[in-house]
Homo-oligomer: 532 residues x 2
């Protein structure tokens, strides 16, 4: 049996730590007192196990006692996914006092269910053609600017040689049309700026919208050739990010908005590296923005290092993710940043870039030069693939967007608009003769429990003699034919309806001199036909 090892720091009197540890193990798994666990097998399979309780050194006798408690949970409890994992490691106990999640060891069997970042550090380097140095990134802001103003900034940053420009996380267009317009303008700005600099720059729009509209926006971005997005996992839901990252060929840059309640008290919540590093990476985030030391926020040097480590350290087979420190950066402290953060880091610089010069292109170039100077062995290739940025993205099949109504118009000669007849089945399967098939409903993304097809059998033709568990319903449409099923035989004329029950050997034949056409309705999920 595989286990998830969670380490919690408990701030409590030594006389209570054993009971409290046991309470956590029960609370997070069975949520009943020990006395109510009816059988030993259930205890074995489900209840968490307190593995160790280690007292922390007390700085002085006045300070509160603290203990690091390791609890192992059966890994199966998180098998149904990331939401189940969050619930298991810090669900109900988030409502208790002075319990902080400090460490998490996940078995390879569990990690193998996660795909993690789509590009990660190496993939994004490849896309950008930048190696051996941090990336230079900025944000489009402030909210309230027009799309044109933002596009001008995007272009200037790209023209100055910047690597990545993202939307401010506050940019939230209400209408889909406004969103599309703004994204197109900013993307064009970045492409124009890239052309000017001869280097690739990527634009990551904010993927934010009411649920139900989010995927429509993601689909638009993919069709637009956009390579990545900014997203707020603690607002949209961590498993929603995983779902999107799995479905769309985009990079995801995570913004920490709304996450702060987990960090601000060292005796509660969880370590920033666990949430913004490990868990975000499992959700598929290619980069994680965090408040940089010295900025407007309160992260410590240790917090920042920890996020870097959790983003970059081995984690199953998952790609490493970019730590993206934001804020607190200036031209002057780039040297310190370089030595603190190293080359695998995205320097996300907002105000300092804008404030450095009225000319954003020039200030971007100046910051970039300084970064290149600090990483003398770095390589920034000129962009052979600026145009690729538009076209390289493998476009998904036309949207799975919800249709309001699908109308398949009957044309004439028993053909339907946009639905071409296809071969009845591969010719090396069961034998048949002169049959065509037109898929009408069920294979184009409709949410039905059944498929509707139209078949036509030419004069003298026949379908294959076969049987299957799934049933057939036939509606005669054109001409006249014969249905044989279970040894019985009936003539099918227009608007006649027939039902073929499970596992009845059946065949349709046309002995007339005109085509015989019929609708056939089958269960959407069905078994393969077998020979009689």
């Amino acid at each position: 049996m595989d286990f998830i090892a969670a380490t919690y720091r408990l701030t409590c009197p030594g006389t209570e730590v054993e009971r409290l540890s046991r309470d956590i193990a029960l609370e997070q798994t069975v949520e009943v007192p020990d006395a109510l666990i009816a059988c030993e097998a259930l205890r074995e399979a489900v209840v968490g196990r307190v593995i160790s309780i280690t007292p922390r050194p007390q700085p002085d006798s006045d300070s509160a006692e603290q203990f690091d408690v390791r609890i192992d949970y059966p890994a199966d409890l998180a098998q149904s996914g990331l939401s189940a994992l969050l619930n298991l490691i810090y669900g109900n106990i988030s409502l208790k006092q002075r319990i902080r999640l400090r460490g998490l060891q996940l078995p390879a069997s569990l990690l193998s269910h996660y795909r993690g970042p789509n590009l990660g550090v190496a993939g994004l380097r490849q896309t950008l053609g930048v190696f051996g140095r941090p990336l230079l990134a900025t944000a489009l802001k402030p909210r309230g600017s027009t799309a044109e103003q933002l596009a001008v900034r995007a272009r200037a940053f790209a023209a100055g040689g910047g690597d990545l420009v993202k939307d401010d996380h506050n940019l939230a267009d209400v209408s889909f049309d406004d969103y599309c317009r703004r994204v197109k303008l900013c993307q064009q700005g970045v492409l124009d700026g890239s052309q000017e600099s001869g280097r690739t720059c990527l634009y990551f729009p904010n993927l934010a919208a009411p649920m139900g509209d989010l995927e429509r926006r993601a689909e638009f971005l993919v069709r637009q050739g956009i390579r990545g997005v900014l997203i707020a996992p603690m607002i949209v839901g961590l498993d929603q990010v995983r779902y999107l990252a799995h479905k769309y060929p985009l990079s995801f840059m995570a913004h920490p908005t709304f996450a702060g309640a987990y960090f601000h008290d060292a005796t509660h919540g969880m370590e920033p590296g666990l949430l913004l590093g490990t868990l975000f990476r499992m959700a598929g985030c290619d980069a994680t923005v965090y408040p940089n030391l010295g900025g407007r926020f309160s992260f410590t040097a240790a917090d920042c290092r920890q996020i870097d480590e959790h983003s970059l350290a081995p984690l199953g087979e998952l790609r490493s993710a970019w730590p993206a420190p934001a804020g607190g950066m200036s031209y002057e402290n780039l040297g310190q940043m370089a030595s603190d953060r190293g080359e695998d880091s995205i320097f996300l610089i907002g105000g300092a870039l804008l404030g450095d010069s009225a000319d954003l292109k020039a200030s971007t170039a100046r910051f970039l030069d300084r970064i290149v100077e600090l990483f003398p062995r770095s390589i920034s290739t000129s962009s052979s693939n600026v145009n690729d940025v538009v076209s390289a993205c493998e476009l998904p099949a036309p949207p799975g967007t919800q249709r309001l109504l699908e109308h398949v118009r009957f044309v004439q000669g028993f053909r339907w608009d946009g639905r071409d007849p296809v071969p009845y089945k591969p010719s090396d399967e069961l034998p048949f003769r002169d049959v065509s098939r037109t898929e009408l409903i069920g294979t184009a993304g409709e949410k039905t429990a059944f498929d509707l097809r139209y078949f036509e059998i030419g004069p003298g033709g026949h379908s294959s003699l076969e049987k299957h568990v799934h049933t057939h319903v036939v509606i005669g449409t054109r001409g006249e034919g014969t249905l044989v099923s279970g040894g019985k035989s009936v003539t099918i004329k227009p608007f006649d309806v027939a039902y073929v029950p499970p596992l009845q050997v059946h065949q349709l034949t046309n002995a007339s001199s005109e085509p015989f056409g019929f609708f056939c309705i089958v269960d959407h999920e069905r078994d393969r036909p077998q020979q009689p």
Copy 2:
């Protein structure tokens, strides 16, 4: 211009409170320093305004200074939805220290975009036939029990007269099939128990699954006649709950798992009533579970009262939601609970019920008797609608004998041999005019996943305007009519095919002077049509 008024409590020296207040107003809106705001119009339209700074009384000179700061944000900033609202009121500043969101006043113009609870307090009372007293609820647990064991408990609770039984939030079936099986068993248990007690009891399964599978489960539940679910908003995402509540005719009971980091420190996060009360209610939660005073968790009497108040107080046109205190209840303290919580409360009792007696039915009855005794004017109607719960889903007809082949011969005048037209639907349901229905396949024991029917609408007639989770496929057969779906309209002529997706409001009309006939294929297991 409408404003959102947010009140924060800042714990900081009096010398800094003005600067910090101004920082919040900038951080949450434009996220740039004041000096970088280029124009005054932008400042007017976007930047938050510090309205008042009120010092709190200091208990003694050693205690930290505190201030209540009201900031007004232009309501437009949250116009794109609940995610935008969360980001606006407590996004980035969650990463700062000693800022707690204490109050929130939302303009009617903003609240009008939210539908809130589908049933709320009054609606759930109506469904249950229970008035003037709290509801008695329990949870199916522990995780690791078999579906059969849980079903036995569900039945016993319902038989004892309990009002509502929900899944434990830890119940997380990995496979869809296991989920369906467990839900069906527990639902049957509750129906059997209800039959025994003569009173309605509702079963709320846990709606939990990897994103991408969540809606499939919701659709299954609706088809199954399930009336409500348990959900964990802080794990699946608050706006995801809103989306689901808007789409599916279910009640949502919110579980507070993973929410605790917002509450545990009085100088940070937000008031429990704001998150578990106001915001959950805006997301459409009909009930909000919270850790009861005296239970395993650390909520205070004031916290509990605040959640009650925020759930029940007027909030635009939104229905009130049920506060659902959980834990810390025993037979002995029901009197205290009754006076503390009042009649509009769901007493969610787990361990105490199980521990009260080995016979769950008897202990449920004992707890219920005590509650009724405490609320002498309460009414618990006997269930005239137990059967409604069964028939809320159109149950499949009993299986007929296995046929070798079924031939439903088209006679003439669009009639079929042995299949007489029947009334379209009971006349007291949704309004319609001059529609007949002929069941062709699916109700005579055929083993299909779908039903085939023929409808005919007379000149000037129309079907009812309705929506449902199940889809329609229509094949034009006779004459000509119009299908309106999701605001789009198409003409249906013979052999035209149309598909109506889930939950699209639709209607078929005949404006011609001839009958309009069409085949309609629907999923065999389907939900009841709802009014738009």
